[in-house]
Amino acid sequence: MPDSPGPLVTPYLTWTGERLDDLFALARDLTEDATFPTVHRWRESGGKVVGHFQVYFPEEIAHAAGMLPVKVRGARVEPRQADARFGSYLCSVIKTSLEVALSGQLPLDLFVSHPICDAARNLAAVWGRNFPYRSEILYLPQNPNSRYAATYLREEYARLKGVIEDVAGRSIKDSVLRRSMLVFNRNRRLLRSLGRIRRETPWLLAVDEAYVLTAIGGLVPREEHNRVLAAALPLIWTRNAKPQGRIRVVFEGGFCEQPPIDLLHAISESCYVVDDDLLVGLRWIRKDVPVAGDPLLNLARAYLEHSTYSSVQHDLRKPKEKMLLRRIRRARAQAAIITAAKMCEPGLDEQVAYTRALDAKGLPYFVSEFEERMTSVDHLQLQLETFVENVLFA
């Protein structure tokens, strides 16, 4: 097989780099576009695409093979065909993720799911029965506390690399993989800069704005995402905005199915969301991954040792409720919004632990459920505003 020439890079965003509002609008359009124009253009230019379901995926490996890694995270579509493939009691993201593929809106060359929950693991099997291309389960370790977990995961990544090489039709040299890791290291640094803005000067960047800037990373080549973020950050830092009387909150429950952007916007009307777990997979690794040495082992160690937390990973070192309290402290939040997607078992289970931990600390919280396809957020917004008033005037 020929060496990987590196990814094809074609700019998708037509942002001129001048007005932030134009970028937010473009990013929102792209995030909500269920026809996945970036995927179609990539394929039209001869590229191949790996769709990876939530939450975390080592995108560097696909990138190094010249493939476009696309985050599969559902869409605001009616699951007409997918409904026939599933029973009634299921979260929306599983159905709509399959729907966009069945309808031809999201053409892929490889699909990868993970055992983040019982539905997501089943999704790989369902996908495999419905499409001619390969559908994989990447068995990320569920026992991260084993001293053998990193070795196992390194081997699992090596296996995945082999699958990706087969699909891409090219081998991945370590040197190319290291270059890809540098691209993703930069991307995570830029995303961490967005996070710092929200913690330190949240009036400069609303949660829905930060969300769309992050989300497009799962749709466009990462080099392009880096260019956009690098250009946007100075504009955000110098934005003409002043602090307002909103409470500082942490948003928890967006690790898989995504709330509608309208809902995030409604929250931003009364709250500064100073930290969240929305699309946490794109920010899962919290430090630069070293490129010297064995790159696959480095990626494996980063997943296990230098990562954040989520309802879908059990790690004895990271009890979720304690991690949430730490997130709240670190972001100097006054309250938490504890959400879960409807029928999301890990999220709903975790709500109990979170709310009990918050009760014990006397921290106010707002509990809700959402669905990616919900069309009205008025009622939720009213409830939230009442909650905010209670916090402000308690």
């Binding site: 599933f86 009634s88 369902v126 389960i137 370790p141 296996r159 059990h314 078992e345 709903l348």
Partner: protein, 428 residues
């Protein structure tokens, strides 16, 4: 491989059910005593219980899944579910988990006795809810939790077997974790690991598993000697609860004697076995007998059930522990068996298609349940795939294994009746 035994007195017919009930009562009596005296208890799950290993440390084995289903069979599940929901759990999460939460909140009080608190929880990743479930005990009791990670089949059609490079990598990971688990068990109990005790337990498990496989195959006979949903669940309980014990071995040896007698005398489970059915999913425990009667009243018999595949932890397929190298073989067996259990939930279509002919199946009943995404998420799609490959009618039902609020007997009956009308039309 067990050999047929000489048929003896017809009085042994039904023995498997009565003995199974007796063994269950005794098991729960032991749990009650353990709770009373503060004896160590290991909470485990049916898919990868590691009972053979944990017995070496004198743990009483608690299967919370079995505890929970017992509340449904005894028609008190709603009390437990309500209590857990009052505590904060959503109506949309696993009913087994919620029933257990209520048991824990009630200090172990359960319709069959008192359940001891967990000294340790050992689980595999065969079901993600296991992981979330164990976190609850971690929070409530500070229980040490060991998640034994068993890498499953990565894609449909992948067939890693002993001897393959991929299998070797995965089994090494499982073996390393078993070593870590042993060290944890030693710390928790103060008992040193004894490989000869493991060897003895594996030997009993070998015999039980062999009998279980023979038992499943015997239902290829017509009439089928047992109902794979109702009777099979009793046998399954003993297989899980007494895995790796002399009592378990004796039970299954006796059970096979009974089944061979029934085969010899052509004794089935219904007056006239008109339709041979395969069940896919988890039983409807809140109306356990009645659910089966919806079919048996029309001459339908469940001759096979995927529940017996995955809820046995994959004991439905071939595996014999090599007693000359117990630990290595335990790791291999765990990987093979748990992976098989997972495959029977995620990739059931091929296995189902393969059993139609030997079991002479007339129809397949898919039973999706609200409580369990592991089993139910892919059922409708698996049914589509099955229907595309086999000219065998199928029925898709939805209810629950715990929550009677989402079960409508009248609706189920309408669907079942229509299904039988379709089956009858196909008869020449």
């Amino acid at each position: 491989m067990p050999v047929p035994v000489a048929p003896s007195s017809p009085s042994i017919i039904g023995r498997g059910l009565t003995e199974g009930a007796r063994l269950f009562r005794e098991w729960f009596d032991r749990l009650d005593a353990a709770a009373e005296h503060g004896e160590p208890a290991a909470y485990v799950f049916v898919m990868g219980s590691l009972a053979e290993l944990l017995r070496c440390f004198d743990f009483q084995l608690v299967f919370p899944e079995i505890n929970s289903l017992q509340t449904a069979v005894r028609r008190v599940a709603h009390e437990y579910l309500n209590e857990a929901e009052d505590y904060g759990y959503s109506p949309d999460v696993c009913g087994y988990v919620k029933a257990d939460v209520a048991v824990q909140l009630r200090d172990g009080r359960h319709p069959m006795g008192r359940i001891p608190k967990p000294s340790i929880a050992v689980l595999t990743n065969a079901c993600n809810t296991y992981v979330k479930w164990a976190e609850i005990w971690e929070r409530l009791h500070g229980t040490p939790v060991f998640t034994l990670d068993v890498p499953g089949t990565r894609a449909a059609g992948d067939d890693d077997r002993p001897g393959d490079a991929g299998f070797a990598r995965d089994v090494a990971y499982v073996a390393d974790q078993i070593a870590e688990l042993i060290a944890l068990c030693e710390r928790v109990t103060g008992i040193r690991f004894d490989i000869d005790r493991l060897r003895a337990s594996l030997a009993y498990a070998n015999e039980m598993n062999a009998c279980f496989r023979t038992l499943l195959d015997l239902n290829q006979r017509a009439p089928a000697p047992f109902n794979a949903v109702t009777d099979g669940t009793v046998y399954l309980g003993v297989l899980n609860g007494l895995r790796g014990t002399p009592e378990g071995r004796a039970y299954f040896t006796d059970l096979l004697e009974e089944m061979w007698l029934k085969v010899d005398r052509h004794v089935g489970t219904v007056q006239q076995e008109a339709f041979r059915l395969v069940f896919v999913g988890v039983p409807c425990y809140p109306m356990f007998r009645r659910f089966s009667e919806l079919f048996s009243e029309r001459g339908g018999t469940f001759v096979s059930s995927t529940y017996l595949w995955f809820a046995s932890g994959g004991a439905s397929g071939a595996w014999t522990y090599d007693l000359a190298r117990p630990l290595e073989s335990l790791a291999e067996g765990l990987l093979v068996s748990v992976r098989r259990a997972m495959d029977s939930m995620f990739f059931p279509d091929r296995a189902l298609a393969e059993l139609v002919r030997p079991f002479r199946a007339d129809g397949v009943v898919y039973h999706a349940i609200k409580s369990c995404r592991t089993v139910s998420t892919g059922l409708a799609d698996a049914r589509r795939a099955f229907s595309a490959s086999c000219d065998v009618p199928s029925l898709f039902l939805e209810s629950d294994m715990m929550d009677r609020r989402v079960i409508s007997e009248a609706q189920l009956k309408n669907r079942v009746d229509a299904f039988f009308e379709g089956l009858a039309v196909r008869r020449p």
